[in-house]
Symmetry: D2
Subunit: 399 residues, 4 copies
């Protein structure tokens, strides 16, 4: 089984997660060279993951003769120029989230990869968690009917690296860091062909002495009538909260990806060691996650990306998706600033989606609002008179 | 121990819950007479709860010579005239939620009880759940620092009685039915003296063929900067979802009042009987609640109300609170209609609340953004240069 | 509503729980006098609960002219003589668990109350938790078929008072303290008329420097074939674990009474105050219980006891039940000592219970072992040839 | 990256799980040939997993010139002869659980692989679940102190294939099918060098018309004093229950591997598709598992096995472990039959393990039984007089 040979750009936390995933278990793909601005960090990373080479020369890393795929794990402000370099090298590129700092920037990256025809994947891991993949498949199979509402929440006490806190380098605060995940999760549930129409967002900086938002909540209205709701925070206490909730006309889905996954530990404080990403305590009740790289979606994400390259198809998450996410985040920032709903400005490639609709059942010329099974086996109907608009109860026998 | 003798107005589901609570366990208060528009329903209710009398004469029930407290469990559109009658009778009145169909109506009821000086309690049970009472006490004791965000959610598949569905009689749809609970829960957590400034609400009618909203989501901005978020729906599938989440600068609270309370049952379908309010199924995995009247707050609510009467003090939930809730719901409806943030118009009796604030820690002339304990015992600081605005990491030893 | 006037014996933790329950909410029963060996503790208790009188004279407390019910909340070794005194006074007696230190002692108490004809209730609160009451009712209604197995677990880091640790005063260690709860819970689920036949118990003293067991696990075999399993420990870390699990031929019940009841709090450590009985920490993730006296069964227990007195009927938990529990604990201790199954020696008043049985379904002359619905709608049968004993699969279409 | 080329023996459910794992994600190992007794099932399996060849010739499959590893996924009664064939072929062998039907059979297989020197791995997946691996690592790092008690539970409504139900082919009932998992999980927590001394087991056949046990509970006493407790059933209703609980002197671990892993779905019944292994229903509340092959340990198990082959080391789970598990199951069956504790008869290669012990703290010449932090910051000690054996409380101030 031939695998891919990878150039890894960046040695931060995300580089570790990516490399751990790629080289974990019995994978056939391998990181061949790693780039870091710092020779010291590059060498440490190289040794940590048994990578043949490290370098501080970005272009050399990208153009390394033995690699065919470049993984971009660099700060947001470096994405655009890096992707241009990879496109010039004609290699496949996989870029971490968010794609750009703005939709404009993301759009230019999208144009670059489309113009040069290179394979481009958007590394949105949380759309690939095993729970999400199975849940989305259930939704598509009709298990919960039409999706009416999706809540996606990512909150933790704040990022680990300094550059994340500098909106000039990232494009914003908690929205740009965490909201991008939530938005794309929401899109997967309401349907990627379902146009995001407008956004209402409220942001605030409540705890940290920074210029950008450390808290944000927003509604995204989609063409079908479905509502997406995201909640992001850098001020959450208790670890990292990753939860999604989906409501449909015929069902409900609740997912907890991190703090309550069926693993609970109380320790009086002995022992030591890494508990979980962004855990706040090392004693008392702790909630570790079994296999973080699997639970957070990295394993399935890279499988999809490399399989897509091998099969000559698009991956589940593309640069176009990254661009749409940026466009929604732009609208969120405009909304928060204008203190009003803001339209999503976007070169839309999706379809037109009809509004969620159901044909009301009628009974005896009346509209059936609700039917309830009574303990005695009869059925109680709540009926509406279509002319008067009056409502009344009626209990019937049903066979 | 002398108890109170009660006139119960109304024989719907809420009347059953109220009477079950009042006459449950070893309570010393008793329902003396029950009023229903229907003699048949009145008699059935009387027999069900061993009440001495039932009547179809509203004024006679209110003016019954043996009762000193009137409990109003009637549809919303009857509250105002009923409360006027009780005020005229000079008895204590306890009115179910919502107080009015609009703030204007609620305001007139408030004026009536204040002018006549009768005791008036607002029967907002979900602010009295044992979990909520303990959680609010913990918040006031400082356990989670300053409250930054509260989510309150009440969703189920729709009410049991016809009149609930008729906005002309109720004042609206899911907001007026369920949102009133959420709003007052939120107020208890952010502090009742914390002024609700404005509301952004989105409503839709997605499933039921009615004129009013069957789904609504909203943000309420409070003077402190805290955000309240309510989610109400008459289209939720899976039973009744009652959850509250509170985030603070130093902690977090999650409460599940109904569907996941530590009681889980799988049944292949044998047996029979009442499972839980608004349960949808009677086989498969079910999640009953131990003691519904206790878990839903009715027990503590009536204890507070009658103790308040006995002690000559105001109850936790007053008609003024009911009026504030109506004012916020009015703003929600205006917001949804105007598709914009709407100010809460309100005769405010609370105080002025300062904005959530924290004095940033400094280190070596730099602002400390975050401190993290490293596995080796050292501390990583993320620092911001107050002049340049640049961020950097610094690892230090701490004693 | 006339209530009862109570003599409370004992001012330990259980006395506080009992009095808090009796005088909580809108109860009509009142503690009139409290007895303590220590005048100081008695006075403090009296003031804490607004009780008219305290005394150090046990007989005076029991014979107080204004009380009609005596609640025994004294250490185990004082139960027998106290109950004799109450019997002499001719008052109703409610005695805390365990009834005796041995079945012999319990038997004598049972004889005393039966001979004198006084009302006697066994205060086994955990059989009255709202979840247990509802679960037992579901089981009796057939929701889970025939009960095959019950696990009851009570573990915590050890009792609060010195006398609990002295087996000479209590009759044993964790079994006598906690096992009595578990055994009676198990009996309620398998049916009180289902004779406990024999016990296998393993005990050990693993952590505390005491002579009695701080850990014990046991199986109780009932006449029907059902197995009860109890797990008790004074060495559990993480708070107080109260869980019951019931398996039946048609369903399953899981109950968590304390550590996971839908209330979760993370606190960085600010604030203060009582969290929960036997909580170990006051920071990090905490799991408070809403209303402890309700959730632990005290409210429903006293309602049943006083209602039983008023109605002239036996309560759910009688002295005979307490005697059966002691007989099972005696067997457990004998089993542990003999390292073998030990018969339960008991003056059995229950009925004979037939063995759990089901008539096997047959198909085409073969015994149906299992039927599974296949994704394509067909049914897979696993069949056993009654002659050869061979097993095979067969897939059939069913209408 | 060179992978391994595999002969897969067997096309049942376990063959599907194994092959799904091996060929899932970006694995470098591949199944080259599959053997089935049935040409039809072999061909279907081959096509389902894109395997180059299928055959009905067992020896040909084992001796296939292109494979270096043989995975045995055949019924228990075929293990011994198959392993002899693989040993003769000189290839690495990975055998599904249980190793043998009896310890004697397992011992002969162990001898065979040790005599011929081939690599032999015992495919005990549930010891490799990501949660278990992390939990065992935490225990070894001291997070919960000395392990005192482990509960391992595997229950479901019964196996899918006919041969499982025939004790002549398998060696028993639910113990041989499920108990083998639990026993090895327990051993991993108490320490594999901790000798299993004796077993008390109770079995019964309560629901299915079979000759072997469909329910069993047991205690295993280890040399350290730790107790292992397993609960296995083929009569559980509600799906597949896989839970482990570990108690230690300084902490607690609870793991839920299947029914409550943070993924909850309610569906009114639309849609279709595979929910989860051994799910019982397809509507109402469902609890799917994200990635079953990962959550059930298959991924980490095969990684360990193939890495062990590559690195020339023993895997975590060896044939010796399989033999120990069989020896404990033999003791369980003997115990159930004799209705008494039964010694584990075993050629023990482990070490001697000292008893769990702690040196009691003393205070003022008294033994400290327990210390509790009081709300006022003082500390309450429960002390035991070493001479008289009397216990008393003492409250002290501590700095």
């Amino acid at each position: 089984m031939d695998g891919h040979s990878i150039t890894m750009l960046g040695t931060g936390l995300i580089g570790d997660f990516y490399t751990n995933t790629l080289q974990g278990q019995r994978g056939r793909d391998r990181v061949r060279v790693v780039y870091s601005r710092s020779a010291e960090r590059g060498a440490a990373f190289r040794d940590r993951w048994a990578i043949p080479e490290s370098t501080t020369d970005l272009e050399a890393a990208i153009n390394h003769p033995d690699t065919d795929v470049v993984v971009v794990g660099l700060p947001n402000f470096l994405h655009e120029e890096t992707i241009a370099l990879v496109a010039r090298a004609g290699k496949a590129v996989l870029c971490t989230k968010p794609l750009g700092r703005t939709a404009e920037e993301a759009r230019r990256m999208l144009d670059t990869v489309e113009r040069t025809g290179i394979f481009a994947g958007y590394l949105e891991d949380l759309c690939y968690t095993p729970k999400s993949l199975k849940a989305v498949a259930s939704v598509r199979a009709g298990a919960i009917g039409a999706v009416t509402w999706v809540r996606s929440r990512e909150t933790h006490p704040g990022p680990h690296s300094a550059w994340f806190w500098d909106g000039r380098l990232t494009g914003g605060g908690a929205i740009i860091d965490l909201g991008c995940h939530c938005i794309e999760i929401i899109r997967n549930f309401v349907g990627k062909g379902n146009r995001p129409v407008e956004v209402l967002c409220h942001t605030d900086t409540l705890v940290h002495p920074i210029a950008d938002e450390d808290n944000a909540v927003a509604f995204i209205r989609f063409e079908s009538g479905a509502i997406g709701q995201f909640e992001v925070s850098w001020t959450f206490r208790g670890g990292m909260d990753l939860r999604d909730e989906v409501a449909g006309t015929h069902g409900t889905i609740w997912m907890n990806h991190f703090l309550r996954t069926g693993f609970e530990m109380f320790t009086a404080g002995g022992g030591s060691g890494y508990i979980a990403e962004k855990a706040e305590t090392s004693a008392g009740w702790l909630f570790p996650v079994g296999d973080e790289v699997s639970e957070l979606g990295y394993v399935d994400m890279f499988s999809d990306m490399f399989d897509a390259i091998d099969e000559g198809r698009a991956p589940q998450e593309t640069f176009y998706d990254g661009y749409v996410v940026n466009a929604i985040m732009d609208a969120a920032y405009r909304s928060a600033k204008a203190h009003a709903w803001a339209p999503v400005e976007l070169d839309w490639r999706g379809r037109t989606t009809p509004r969620i609709a159901s044909t009301p059942e009628t009974y005896d010329g009346q509209v059936v609002i609700k039917r309830e099974l009574l303990p005695d086996g009869r059925v109680k109907l709540i009926l509406k008179d279509p002319v008067s608009g009056d409502f009344r109860d009626r209990v019937i026998e049903e066979s």
